[in-house]
């Protein structure tokens, strides 16, 4: 037995016993415990296995820098792999499982790597596994992958919810230790809006484990008073269990609050984690300092932990790390731990101080080895003894725990996330945060002020300066009287000489001193190279403990100062953040909003099958009883339109109203075809280009009045075209007097197409719709029976006599119903976008299947539309480039299938008959295919090199992806009614 719960003391609630399991064993702890403290209380020293060598590992820290004590918490779909036991709040029913071991934590086959470690030096994998080639994926890599990784997940669906919030404040204080609390108090008393964020579940930071008295009382008492006061300030928000993980531009901070990660039962109405985006006018980082491990032989055995962690476990959690603890230190902090442990009656096996000239006083009865160092440790699954060396004199010191202190590093992570480089302080032997500017300051230990009194003063001082900067009177802060303080000085010791066994720098990734030596020897001495070559600092703790020692070791070996070595880059996230928290509620069906046409209900009532079209759901086809396949329905719909009439919902088209004296001029510059002389009451097909001469979008332009147009866009490009028009109006030609407005959602629009369209429509429209009164391309307001104003456009995508009728969105369903009733005797059917697609392919009309952003008007057979006589329009100038007018460009053609038993498919490519498939021989591609019920065969639209010269050619439709090759005849893309007789009828 090593670690145990002390009879008294600590901030835990001993009256509240909590049951939990670890690898199936039932254990108990108390409210206020972390999983780590509860494991220690149960003498569970061995909690994990390291990444590479699978060495047995225990708890090293009492906080978020923990490299070793990673466990999976939870069961079923609520398993959280790689959770740090040192920050996991204990709760009733917590189920923890150890990781990276097989078959068990105590006996792990993977530990054979440790025996072979000399063959597995840094970067060994770059030098082998190359022969034979096929063995990498089949043999070596699977072995490596199985051995690597930490926690396990089979990626089950997460049953829990997440949410996001914005917060705004005058001052964000990160960290609730002495500096943070002092800062928050000053700011709160001065009337600032303050957010105090603390990653721990208890506010107070170092005050919770500190023993120096404040105003004669334990420091946590001061913390409680401070928090009570802060609670009373209306402008203060306290966020425990909230880790500020990132500092972004404009002083915006990302933070994650663990709302329900400390409970076995989850309230489904609340999130388990909440992402905060905190907009802070000012921020104070009072993030404290991290104690450094010492790099000595065998420094990784279970039972070896940071001295500050040993103190924290004793003072805050009432736990002795061992019965006989050896302390190894290079500064005064080790003495403080000796005091803390002695005060609890724990035996100190020895206090080994690397310094020869230290004046620190150890507690009475503690043996101090000055000028000494540990060179090796004994024990396998827990430490049994250390071998100390002093000037060549070796001594075996029995112990069952080791507390090590290698000095302190301010936690500057967040302050370095925006490009600022840490600054080396020779005096403090540590990197400090760069000057960040107005928005962010460091305070307390994070700023290199380690004494408790300094922390309190610094926090208050920094907050006062911010209050002043905000132009407010500064409220007073009377610092409590601080008891006897320890001088936290230390003498840097990057690597303890004489290591008999591996001296680990990065515990989790098993990087030890010799690996860094090897890296340097092989030319990887740059700190970034060393990191990437050895993987030091790349584990889940991102080098919070080890990086500084790696830098010190590299500096020593290179004979330069750590300042010259520099640090690797600090990046988000300070500690890892779940996908769930960052994604919030944007997931599954809620990943993106859904848009429904005003005729959605009408379509649903007629049995429509809906299909995604961007955010929209569009009616795809309308199956009738007895129809077994979508093709049956679509073929019927197409035949019905061609022979009788059909009604199709086209409401999703973009609709933009354009007004103003210069509206015509504006549109004339926007479209490649002329618009200026479009008569009032007429519509015209319009083609917009990008400035590079490629087709951007197509639609119709209708002139409703001299200075009033309505333009339509494709469904897909509605938003883009609006922005494009706004850019043109606001940036390119702000002198034009034009205004426009998207009315896409205001109108329900339906196409009525087919020989009977006029008859049906006339039944609901008051106005005369005769060919003379309402000819092809007429576009104007009409009055429906019942006195509803509507807009009617005689335009056709299907090639039939067709109209598009637009009515205010709320009337859409009623009008559609009226049309369906009126059309019933005429054989009217509802048709969907699939039939619409067939109809337009038969008529040779293009959509974005053809207009894919690489197509010129001429490629699409629309070259004659270009208003080359216009002085200017978007895309005019670059459309004349050599490559855009080359004779061998792929041009739109039609294809007629020549082999009935083999169907063509969009995406097939084209080859000359007999040509060998190759990129050079590639003649083009098929953009749209359908079975044409009108022609009784498969037809396609395709782009073929110099295609318009090749009508009649028999060509290979090459679809190797599907294993289908078939012949087709090249033809004009207009398959149906090329003379437009039906259209004009």
């Amino acid at each position: 037995m090593t670690a145990y719960r002390l009879a008294s003391g600590g901030l835990i609630d001993r009256s509240n016993t909590i049951g939990f399991t670890f690898d199936g064993a039932s254990l108990s702890g108390h409210a206020g415990d972390t999983l780590a403290s509860a494991l220690l209380a149960n003498d569970r020293l061995l909690v994990g296995r390291s990444f590479k060598y699978h060495r047995p590992r225990g708890i090293v820290t009492a906080g978020p820098a923990e490299p070793n004590a990673l466990v999976t918490i939870g069961t079923g779909a609520r398993r959280d792999p790689n959770t740090k036991a040192t920050v996991a709040e204990l709760y009733d029913g917590l189920a923890a499982t150890s990781q990276n071991r097989w078959p068990s934590l105590a006996f792990d086959i993977g530990a054979v790597n440790d025996r072979l470690s000399r063959f597995l030096s840094a970067g060994f994998y770059y030098k082998t596994f190359m022969w034979p080639a096929a063995f990498w994926e089949k043999v070596y890599e699977p072995l490596i992958r199985r051995a690597a990784g930490l926690g396990r997940t089979d990626l089950p669906r997460d049953p829990d919810g997440y949410e996001k919030s914005w917060a705004h404040c005058d001052l964000l204080v990160v960290g609730s230790g002495p500096a943070g609390l002092a800062a928050a108090l000053v700011a709160a008393r001065s009337g600032l809006r303050v957010i105090l964020a603390e990653q721990d579940f208890v506010l107070g930071g170092a005050l919770l484990s500190e023993t120096t008295r404040l105003d004669g009382e334990a420091p946590f008492v001061f913390a409680r008073h401070a928090l009570d006061e802060l609670h009373g300030h209306p402008g203060v928000t306290l966020l425990p269990r909230t880790t500020v993980f990132g500092w972004y531009d404009d002083n915006v901070f990302g933070a994650v609050e663990r709302v329900q990660k400390h409970s076995a039962t989850i309230d489904a109405a609340r999130p388990v984690e909440r992402l905060w985006r905190i907009v802070a006018k000012h921020a104070i980082l009072a993030t404290g300092a991290e104690e450094r491990p010492l790099v000595f032989g065998g420094n990784d055995r279970p039972g070896i932990m940071m001295a500050s962690a040993a103190s924290t476990y004793a003072n805050r959690f009432g736990i002795a790390a061992g019965r006989s603890v050896a302390i190894f230190t290079n500064g005064s902090s080790g003495y403080r731990t000796a005091e803390d442990l002695s005060a609890q009656g724990v035996e100190i096996a020895a206090l080994i101080d690397s310094r020869t000239d230290a004046s620190d006083r150890a507690p009475d009865g503690v043996r101090v080895v000055r000028g000494g160092g540990i060179i090796d440790t004994k024990g396998r699954r827990r430490v049994r003894a250390v071998i100390a060396d002093r000037g060549g004199f070796e001594e075996l010191i029995a112990c069952d725990a080791v507390a090590m202190s290698g000095g302190w590093s301010p936690v500057i992570h967040l302050a370095c996330q925006r490009g600022g480089k840490p600054v080396w302080s020779q005096a403090l032997q540590a990197f400090l945060a760069p000057e960040a500017g107005d928005g962010l300051v460091m305070a307390g230990a994070a700023a290199g002020h380690y004494r408790l009194s300094e922390c309190l003063d610094d926090g208050a001082r920094k907050a006062s300066a911010i209050v002043e900067a905000l132009g407010r009177p500064v409220a007073g802060f009377e610092r409590p009287v601080v008891g006897e303080e320890v001088d936290p000085s230390f003498t840097a010791l990057w690597h303890v000489p004489g290591a008999r066994s591996k001296a680990f720098v990065d515990f989790q990734n098993d990087v030890h001193g010799k690996d860094l030596g090897l890296a340097l020897r092989e030319g990887f001495g740059h700190v970034e190279h060393a990191k990437r070559y050895t993987t030091s600092g790349m584990a889940t703790d991102q080098g919070k403990l080890g990086n500084i020692n790696a830098i010190g070791i590299l500096a020593t070996m290179r004979g330069v100062s750590p300042a010259e070595v520099g640090t690797t880059t600090f990046r988000p996230f300070y500690t890892p953040v779940s996908f769930g928290a960052l994604a919030g509620s944007s997931r599954d069906e809620h990943a993106m909003p859904v848009r429904r046409s005003p005729l959605h209900g009408w379509a649903a009532r007629h049995g429509a099958v809906f299909i995604d079209a961007g955010l929209w759901y569009r009616s795809s086809w309308f199956p009738k009883a007895g129809e077994k396949t979508w093709r049956e329905s679509v073929d019927r719909e197409v035949r019905t339109v061609r022979e009788h009439a059909g009604l199709c919902d086209v409401s999703t088209l973009g609709k933009i109203e354009v007004f103003g004296p210069d509206a015509a001029e504006f549109l004339n510059r926007l479209y490649c075809n002329p618009v200026l002389k479009l008569p009032v009451g007429k519509a015209r097909y319009g083609l917009m280009l990008r400035e590079d001469g490629m087709v951007y979008d197509d639609g119709t332009v209708s002139r409703l009045a001299e200075e009033h147009f309505l333009v339509t866009t494709t469904t897909a490009m509605a938003a883009g075209v609006l922005s494009h028009m706004e850019f043109a109006a606001q940036v390119l030609w702000p002198e034009l007097r034009v205004r426009f407005l998207s009315v896409s959602d205001q109108w329900a629009q339906m196409s009525i197409a087919g020989p009977k369209a006029r008859t049906i429509l006339q039944a609901v429209v008051e106005d005369d719709l005769s060919n003379a009164a309402f000819p092809f391309l007429a576009a104007r307001e009409v009055r429906l029976k019942g006195n509803l104003k509507a807009r009617l456009f005689r335009i056709s995508f299907s090639g039939e006599l067709a109209y598009e009728l637009a009515v205010p969105a709320g009337y859409g369903e009623a009008v559609a119903d009226a049309l369906m009733r009126a059309g019933e005797p005429q054989g009217l059917c509802a048709y969907g976008v699939e039939a619409l697609n067939v109809l337009r392919i038969e008529k040779g009309h293009v959509t974005h299947a053809e207009l894919d952003g690489r197509v010129t008007p001429d490629d699409a057979g629309l070259g004659r539309m270009m208003g080359t006589g216009k002085p200017d329009f978007i895309g005019k100038r670059l459309s004349t480039r050599f490559g855009l007018t080359a004779a061998d460009r792929a041009q739109l053609v039609g294809l007629k299938a020549l082999e009935a038993d083999k169907d063509m498919r969009a995406g097939a490519h084209l080859l000359k008959d007999g040509a060998k498939p190759s990129t050079i021989n590639d003649q083009g591609w098929v953009s749209s295919v359908c079975f044409s019920p009108t022609l009784g065969t498969h037809i396609a639209l395709a782009f073929l090199k110099s295609g318009r010269e090749r009508y009649g050619e028999k060509i290979v439709v090459w679809d190797k992806l599907r294993g289908v090759e078939t012949f087709a005849e090249v033809c004009d893309p207009v398959f149906v009614d090329p003379e437009n007789r039906k259209l004009m009828a």
């Binding site: 959280d80 030098k127 082998t128 080639a133 997940t153 991102q542 990046r571 990008r690 974005h848 590639d922």
Partner: protein, 416 residues
């Protein structure tokens, strides 16, 4: 020093003290036949192939930071040749073929892992696009497979089949695609080039390009002037800044792309998977971290860091595609500066200035191109003419009207 299992064994028995530097750290000579600006993947590969394939060994690579400090060490390590357009596909397939022999050629294990890339599609239009792409690949002799929803369900049961806003209807698979260890690629080419006599000069920033009578004669650097017969720029991310020293105005905008890695996990995702209803892509490294990214942040930036809103959007796409990612924790986010070109495709070409050669515009697809980019750039520098697979990657293709626009997005770089 040759690397092998035997060398590892022998060195291990000698305490691993006998390993020698992977490359020299030479001082620059006064003059080189070729100076390459940029010690990233492309620059190092160019140097290697110049020496290896074209016999030009009096070559220096000058790098302002450390070797591999740019995008070769910041990408998401994906290697593939699943392009659609004839200007691209032969080039990337040439690259993939070079990848397949790279480890033995370099005597360096770059851990090429041909795990396969699956590009998901979610509607008929996307399907048709991927079929067109797959057939374009097969025209070039590159195997591609179309996977239907049922096949995907068996292969990738963790995808969001039941609650997706945009249902998965299929995918395009290129089995030969996969990942490689990015840093190792830079190191392998560096070591290979060094062994052939190339000088790799780190911490040497180019501050000016010297021209005499219009002809480039060398570079001013923080280590002094270095003369050369031919100067080759391979400084993606900073192309415009270096080009500006020679008065070049280029079709390039610098943008930041973020990438992410999760905590290590036991193997759970075997393939590279790309999302069709967004830009998300993901794979798992040999170390166990899930490596992923999505679209660029969208604004001009030379800062190698991204913003939170984009990161959140990436995660949204991630959990939408794979709901089980929700409880996986993201360890680290970083950013790289991309040369976004005006059509989304790269440039390997001469410049209007004699003796000055240009390799740039890789957008966020440069890693997979590393070997071919080096090979073709070396070919151009050595022979004065484009390699046949890189003929379309010309600088003047924009003014002449031959863009290579895989996205069909036109000349707005942040849309590619």
């Amino acid at each position: 020093m040759r690397y092998s299992a035997l060398s590892i064994f022998k060195q291990a028995l000698a305490g691993n003290l006998g390993w020698t530097p992977a490359w020299r750290e030479p001082q620059p000579k006064p003059h080189y036949d070729v100076i390459i600006v940029g010690g990233g993947g492309h620059g190092l590969a160019t140097a290697y192939y110049l020496a290896r394939e074209f016999g030009i060994r009096n070559v220096a690579v000058v790098e302002k930071g450390y070797l591999g400090s740019g995008n070769v060490g910041r990408n998401t390590t994906i290697v593939r040749s699943n392009y659609m357009l004839p200007g691209n596909e032969p080039f990337y397939e040439f690259s993939l073929k070079l990848w397949e022999g790279l480890e033995r050629e370099l005597n360096y294990n770059v851990m090429l892992s041909q795990r396969g890339i699956i590009s998901l599609y979610h509607n008929d239009g996307q399907r048709d696009h991927y079929v067109r792409r797959g057939n374009a690949m097969m025209m070039e002799g590159v195997a591609a497979e179309q996977l239907d929803r049922e096949t995907l369900k068996k292969m990738l049961p963790f995808l969001n089949f039941d609650h997706a806003r945009f249902p998965i209807i299929g995918g395009l698979l290129q089995r030969r695609a996969g990942t490689a260890r990015h840093d190792a690629v830079a190191w392998g080419f560096a070591r290979g080039a060094d062994r052939l006599g190339v000088d790799l000069i780190q911490n040497c920033e180019v501050t000016g390009i010297r021209r005499e009578d219009g002809i480039v004669t060398g570079v001013e650097t923080t280590k002094g002037f270095i003369g050369c017969n031919r100067l080759a720029l391979a400084a993606a991310g900073n192309t415009s800044r270096v080009g500006e020293m020679a008065g070049l105005k280029l079709p390039i905008e610098s943008h930041v792309l973020q990438a992410f890695v999760t905590e290590g996990l036991k193997p759970c995702i075997d393939h590279v998977i790309t999302y069709g209803a967004g830009h998300f892509y993901i794979s798992q490294s040999d170390k166990g971290g899930l490596v992923f990214g999505a679209e660029i942040d969208g604004y001009s930036s030379y800062a190698q860091r991204g913003n939170l809103a984009t990161a959140e959007h990436v995660m949204e796409e991630g959990v939408t595609m794979i709901p089980g990612l929700s409880r996986v924790r993201v360890l680290r986010a970083w950013g790289g500066v991309m040369d976004m070109s005006m059509d989304g495709s790269p440039i390997i070409d001469r410049t209007p200035i004699d003796n000055l050669y240009l390799n740039c515009g890789w957008c966020y697809g440069g890693f997979k191109a590393t070997p071919a980019s080096g090979f073709c750039f070396a070919h151009l520098i050595a022979k004065g003419e484009s390699h046949h697979v890189a003929r379309a990657l010309r600088l003047d293709r924009f003014e002449r009207g031959f863009p290579i626009d895989e996205a069909g997005a036109g000349t707005q770089p942040n849309l590619h």
